[in-house]
Amino acid sequence: MEGLKRRRFADKTARWVITIGGSITIFVVIALFLFILSEVYPLFKGAKVLKENAYSVHGKVVSLGVDEYQEIAYTVYQDGNVEFISLPGGKVMKRYHIAGMTGPSATAQHNPDKNHGIFTLPSSLQGKKENTHEEIPQKFLGQNTITSVCKDNDRLVLGTSDGKILTAFITFSESFNSEKRIITPEILREETLQIDEKEQEIKHIVSESDDSTVTTVASTIDDRLLLKYTEERKTLFGTGEKTELKKNITDLLNQSQLNIPFESPGLRSNLIDPENRVGITSLALDSFMENLYVGTSFGEVFRINIRDKENPFVQEWIKVSDKAVTALGFVLGDISLIVGDYGGSVSVWMQVREEIPSSEVVLKKIHALKSHTAPVVAVVPSKRNKGFLTMASDGMIHLNHATSEQTLLNLHSKATPTALAFSPRGNGILVTDLDSNLFHWSISNPHPEVTLKTLFGRVWYEGYEKPEFVWQSTGGTDDFEPKLSLVPLIFGTIKGTVYSLVIAVPIGILAALYTSQFLHKRIKFIKPVIEIMAALPSVILGFLAGLWFAPFIEKVFPAVVIAPLCIILFIAIALFLWKFLPARLKGKYRYGVEALFLIPFIIGAVYISIHLNSISESILFRGDYREWLLNILGLHYDQRNALIVGFAMGFAVIPLIFTISEDSMSNVPGNLISASLALGATPWQTAVRVVLPTASPGIFSAIMISFGRAVGETMIVLMATGNTPIMDWSLFNGFRALSANIAVEIPEAPVGGTLYRVLFLAALLLFITTFMVNTAAEMIRQKMRKKYRKL
């Protein structure tokens, strides 16, 4: 009795184990899908705030910054005081007073100016002219304040209310003490300079520098534009030879100086004040110190070429908005210009070469981003990617990405904001407001450049003349922007699949039809031989295609063109010979050996066409087929092209189509065929009208499975194409397929990075495609099995 119980228990356990073991395949497929999906998902998640901290500061902050590790922030106050704040705690580590400021000493408390931030709006639009007069009492008291700021990496350039420019370097040095990182902030190399002799308030300032030159442009409260340029040439002995240039370039902006007629003079004259003065509302200078952009209260942007500092000239004048341009800035790389206006709209502009009429370079709007509801007052670019921050006067902060045109994060300061900073690694945002609050957000923004649109749509990249599909994941320079459009790769996959199926499907199905219906029983062993060929490793096919077939075809391309004609001719000859071959000779092999009989003829045809290669090249292609293709058809012939891939993949796919469709054709019940033949149909009619329709689901499933195989085939496309991600249906150039792209790029892709996840997305696409195709094929096969059971 005990034994029986034990046996029954064993039986039950086994049933469970086998059931679970049997269903593992389901789990494997689901796990595959879910895992790949989980790797792709973060691409579309956007940015999020990891930590939010608020601290209080002592007064009105005009500039703000943070070190690379977000451990120490600095605040520059209106009165020239600088404080270094340790970030986790909010403690002030160090105080400092910038030389050249005549305000109260660093320790004294300063009454914050409640009325406006550093981001002053154009007075004419703000509707309070008295704005400027507020500064004057301070000036009378012998104090000056900082009125404008420009950050050029570590170099901080400050404009004051009395027309001075102060320069200071704020650096963070790293040192290690018993494996702990210590960061020390420092202020170095301060300079003071009177840029405006009239001692007017500096309203906007921009400055750029390199090893030997410094270019600074400032605009004053009375809308004068001043250019200052210093060049220091080091001689052998270390003493510098200094050239200095100071120039008032306000006149460039005047209408009378411009030879370009205004598009809408009416609008301008309506707003213009009696002196015909242009209200300068924002400035931007690129790091090449060549293009100075000036935004005006009329919504215009002037592009002033200052390459020759002696003779700057207005290169372009363009209306970018109906409202005043209140903020200008550059996306990383200093090529794309970010424009924010009084109405709150944010757009990105770039110099594009126009095709018609003059092929001149003009500014064009390439991206538009989510609008603010209040005037944009600040634009801060990321130092890591093409992202940037915009801030409106109501304290709303948007984290944008130029290329993907998405706004990833919305943040808000409490009161009117005064200064904004983006951490060097792009993972932290700091802002101060008039209520002396300092907000610090640690953010996670892993994949800002990816949206469905950048992956599958045309994107206008920097340096391109129009929106395009581009795949280019790595580049030479640091500010290179990865271009991750999957469209060229999908196109490549489709191209390779189509060409290989065009070659493989007819051959495979016809050969299967012949084998199942007409082939002599004695030579049916051909079938397993071809079946074995289905197991041929694709790396062998790829190697032969790339290193033997491609150079060979390149040499005998004209022969390839005439080969079909030769083959048809030789088949005709074979048919003729066969007809007149005495029946005695054929014996019992009267039918079903045509395929073997044809072998020498087809070899002969191929041999003859290769032999005729140079003759046909001179007749058909005027002696050089490459030139002929290029001149007559406009096609470029690559050695490793789609034709080669089509043939090589055909090798991989033909046995598959052949085996599956032959199986379904052989399984057509014999009584159907016998009935057809008995009714007087010829064998061919029976094959086409009875066998093919009955076996059609099997043939269909064969094509589907071959399609799946061709879509996912990696090694052949990797080895037999040039792997260039271009979009062109030409038979004679290469392509890059999704699968080969994964194989090429994933070893280089950092884990968890954007490229890594995009490659997983490519794998997901392949998975979904083949899943649908295979499921459909399998369902058809299951149905067919049932049908045959009935017949």
Partner: protein, 532 residues
């Protein structure tokens, strides 16, 4: 004529043509690989051309082709070797430039460790500043002597110093672990003990290094002088020479013997010169071990699934879903399995194992990087459907009467399956394993992501505990083809080796598949006989 077309005969010929083309394509492919792969090691005669411009070239004839648009003009591709002298391995010579040609009887082929083959005549051995004459026989005996020295160097470099490095690494890790523990007298003592041991090792290492240096200087001292075709003299260290032979003096039989020896070397030795010369043993070993590990993983999974489908499930929804997933697993592109293996096995599971058990070596990964285990598991997932389908067929072949007999005697279902059905289905399971192995042996794309390398420093099995190193990277025949054919610096010189490797791989796969198909056909016959 119309009736002729109406009968459909021409169309039948058309379909026949499709089959003929298929047969020719497949046959041509195999013939091409065999022709190119098998001819590589045949000792070709050395031909010497005196050119019209007065220069002389010597080498092996590789191929000859007509020059288009010129009558009776052809050019010959000559492997001139001596890459260190000429910079190129090959040279095209047009027949109009040739003054006369000959096959010099004493011309020698020198196989070298570096710079490829050298063709020339032996002048003598260098002794101080003189050149003493030397016969080829003496040279060969000198070479043998030399080889035993080289073997010894190899042994010390690989085994002895490898051992020392292995132990050193072990102590270093132990030390690292100890220093992270709470300091106590016991720990301190242990640390000191380890330090002493490491010092000892260091001493033996230095001794061995000294021995090596001496051996090297001994080997490098002997130099031979070779006279090249252009009457230039070239001094070659004996150490560089692997083999010397005079192909023009060899008969067909000795050439065949030479060929066999070379082919065996190819299969049993390690690669040299960035894989373009030498053998492919590590690649064969890696492939075999990988498919072996894969078989261990795939057989239980595949057989369980097949048994469930055939014996338990019937025609339920679950069975249909399983069938769909099996056919999907068969259809999902291999690169998708590869990327799954990379993300799931390597970074997720491997990374986790590293954090738990190998934290002292971090950030250098142990299991968190590609290795033979992960590659095998990835391929196991890929080949499950092959095993399932073949096993199912094997199970179908078991006659119903056997099962019913077993039930009638009172056996439970499991007992029937375990003791009656499965033993009878073994040929089917075997077919499945063979087909899976054939598939895995030829698959490359997923391996590229999960642990295959162009040159593995050591095999996954060696004499160090735990003897089988599943975390190691490995070499693979298929990847070897891709890598040497497409990524080696000197592709033209490497192509013959790629053909030979391709031939070996093709042979393995054809043999495996043929065996599987033969077993399956036997099974089918048995099945149809049993069902009667």
């Amino acid at each position: 004529m119309r009736g002729f077309f109406k009968s459909g005969n021409p169309y039948i010929w058309l379909t026949a043509c499709a089959l003929t083309i298929t047969i020719l394509m497949m046959g041509g492919l195999v013939a091409l690989i065999m022709m190119n792969g098998l001819s590589v090691f045949w000792p070709h005669n050395i031909i010497k051309f005196a050119l019209k411009d007065g220069s002389v070239v010597m080498g092996e004839m590789v191929k000859r082709e007509p020059i288009p648009f010129k009558k009776d003009a052809y050019r010959t591709k000559l492997k001139i070797g001596n890459r260190d002298v000429y910079g190129l391995d090959f040279r095209w010579i047009e027949n109009v430039d040739i003054e006369f040609r000959e096959y010099p009887a004493h011309a020698l082929t020198f196989e070298r460790r570096e710079w490829g083959n050298m063709y020339g005549f032996l002048k003598g051995i260098k002794q101080n500043d003189d050149v003493l004459p030397l016969t080829v026989e003496n040279l060969i005996s000198l070479l043998e002597e030399n080889h035993s020295l080289v073997e010894r160097i190899r042994y010390i470099e690989k085994s002895v110093i490898g051992d020392i490095n292995f132990k050193m690494e072990k102590y270093r890790l132990a030390l690292k672990r100890l220093t992270s523990e709470e300091p106590s007298p016991k720990v301190h003592k242990k640390i000191e003990f380890l330090h002493a041991k490491m010092e000892n090792l260091e001493k033996t290492y230095r001794e061995k290094e000294h021995v090596l240096a001496e051996l090297y200087s001994g080997v490098m001292r002997k130099e031979i002088v070779v006279l090249l075709a252009s009457d230039e003299e070239k001094i070659v260290p004996l150490f560089q020479v692997i083999r010397v032979y005079a192909p023009n003096e060899m008969g067909a039989l000795s050439k065949l013997g030479f060929y066999t020896k070379k082919f065996w070397e190819f299969l049993s030795e390690e690669p040299r010169e960035a894989n373009t010369e030498g053998g492919i043993f590590p690649a064969i070993f890696g492939t075999v071990m990988m498919v072996f590990l894969m078989s261990i993983a795939v057989v239980p999974l595949g057989v369980l699934t097949a048994v469930y489908l055939k014996e338990y499930a019937g025609d339920t929804i679950i069975a249909r879903i399983i069938r769909i997933s099996v056919s999907n697993l068969a259809g999902i592109p291999s690169i998708v399995f590869g990327i799954f293996g990379l993300g799931f096995f390597i970074y997720l599971i491997g990374g986790g194992i590293d954090k738990l058990f190998f934290s002292e070596t971090l950030p250098a990964p142990t299991f968190g990087t590609g290795g033979i285990l992960w590659a095998s598991l990835t391929l196991a997932l890929l080949t499950v459907p092959v095993v399932v389908v073949a096993t199912e067929e094997g199970l179908s072949a078991v006659p119903k009467s056997l099962r019913e007999g077993s039930f009638a005697l009172g056996a439970t279902k499991f007992e029937t399956i375990w003791k009656i059905v499965l033993p009878h289905a073994t040929p089917g399971i075997l077919t499945g394993i063979i087909l899976a192995i054939a598939r895995a042996a030829g698959e490359v794309a997923p391996l590229m992501l999960t642990g295959v390398v162009k040159l593995a420093p050591s095999l996954p099995i060696d004499s160090h505990f735990p003897y089988i190193h599943l975390e190691r990277k490995f070499m693979h025949l298929g990847f070897h083809i891709y890598d040497v054919g497409f990524q080696s610096p000197n592709i033209e010189a490497a192509i013959p080796m790629v053909y030979t490797t391709t031939f070996v791989l093709l042979l393995i796969i054809l043999v495996l598949n043929t065996t599987a198909i033969i077993i399956r056909n036997k099974l089918r016959k048995w099945y149809s006989a049993a069902s009667l």
